[in-house]
Symmetry: C2
Subunit: 233 residues, 2 copies
């Protein structure tokens, strides 16, 4: 039998990938550390900006990501998770190049959302929104959702996201919280934190919005842990 | 020129390795995420307990660690750091098997301690103390130090260390803080946190002891970042 090994394609950004690795441990109560999921985290941030590639035609991050996928497979990864929402735009190309199956963050998020009818407030980068990563799946499943306006993206969400990426986590958290509050004010009943920086920012400021949110990073971690538990049976 | 890649041998425990990966980012102020150190973190906790191997003749962790070293080298690591103090007992065997040079945590700690005469309060697992990882180097350099008594190890340090490993971080932090306070009460002027779980515990309870401490995990991160900055020149 192949030894299970979770490969994590990180670096986008590197702090979000570390946050993901931490969630893999914190969401898995264990008796001994040997029961934790074996993980190989490729955290190489020298990848062209995904958001700029999608929204302004910047250089493609795909070659760098494919290199990471190759490293993880060569090292024996049996499943691979991508610790970045926006990077899922290239999911099909990455999956085609990877002998190890990739776990999809939108599938993981839908599993956490459950079936209850809600108005989903979708918080995501402009690039991720333009790639319609979540919206196409929500439309296909007839789930109701709203997103931030262009103005809110310019003034709140995008500056908040980059502040977290650059280590100004508290400042970023407050901007991201304000972007989420706009969606709740317009009727959202549940927030989907569809950018791996959002939870990092909201956690730092201990935001009450977290209680009404599905952190997609956390949802993906749950899916990885489910895989690990099945392997141990 | 070879592309720099820091390999991290983690999993001992996995939370300490994630803490180390986070420090590599937090101690490195950057303008863009692409300036962060490229890292491959082997975080595979299925390694026999180092402490038990040293103190009670349990199974050797060396074969599992050698496997990690092989994975990191095959993936192109140009330097390797071991995110666990006790594991440095096997440093020479690991270094002999690794084409990529290994960075030593005691060298990194001495660089952070500086030359000022202090009475070092050395906080470490029983196994690490018995392996004399730090003491032999301190003796050779004529540095004064004190350590916890057997009773303090039994009642405070070791239970605190395992509590952190098993996710009871606040509880563990209080026990480890008490172990450190005993050393300060006996005249220590600076604490060396020579087990990667200690800082995780003390940070969670926001312990005032941190101000008087050198976190060896953090010292190792500084050494890794110095390597990365030299590569970019």
């Amino acid at each position: 039998m192949t030894t299970p090994l979770l490969g994590v394609l990180g670096g986008m950004g590197p702090l979000a990938a570390v946050d993901f690795a931490r969630k893999l441990l914190e969401l898995n109560p264990v008796e001994t550390e040997q029961q934790h999921i074996p993980t190989l985290l490729w955290n190489v941030p020298q990848i062209p900006d995904r958001q700029l590639a999608l929204s302004r035609g910047g250089p493609s991050p795909l070659p760098a990501m494919l290199q990471g996928i190759a490293v993880l497979n060569a090292a024996g990864a049996t499943r691979i998770a991508i610790a970045c929402n926006t990077a899922h735009h290239w999911f099909d190309e990455l999956a085609a190049a990877s002998p190890a199956p990739l776990l999809h963050i939108v599938d993981a998020t839908l599993a956490q959302l459950g079936e209850k009818p809600e108005i989903i407030g979708l918080l995501a980068t402009r690039g991720a929104l333009q790639s319609r990563l979540y919206q196409d799946r929500f439309d296909a499943l007839q789930r109701r959702y709203i997103v931030n306006t262009e103005d809110e993206l310019d003034k709140l969400f995008m500056p908040g996201c980059y502040a977290v990426k650059h280590g100004k986590i508290e400042e970023g958290g407050r901007l991201l919280e304000a972007a989420g509050q706009r969606l709740l004010a317009r009727g959202a009943t549940r927030l989907v934190l569809a950018c791996t920086e959002i939870a990092t920012g909201l956690e730092r400021i201990n935001s009450p919005l977290l209680a009404a949110s599905v952190d997609t990073n956390e949802a993906l971690a749950h899916t990885c842990l489910q895989y690990w538990r099945e392997q141990k049976k």
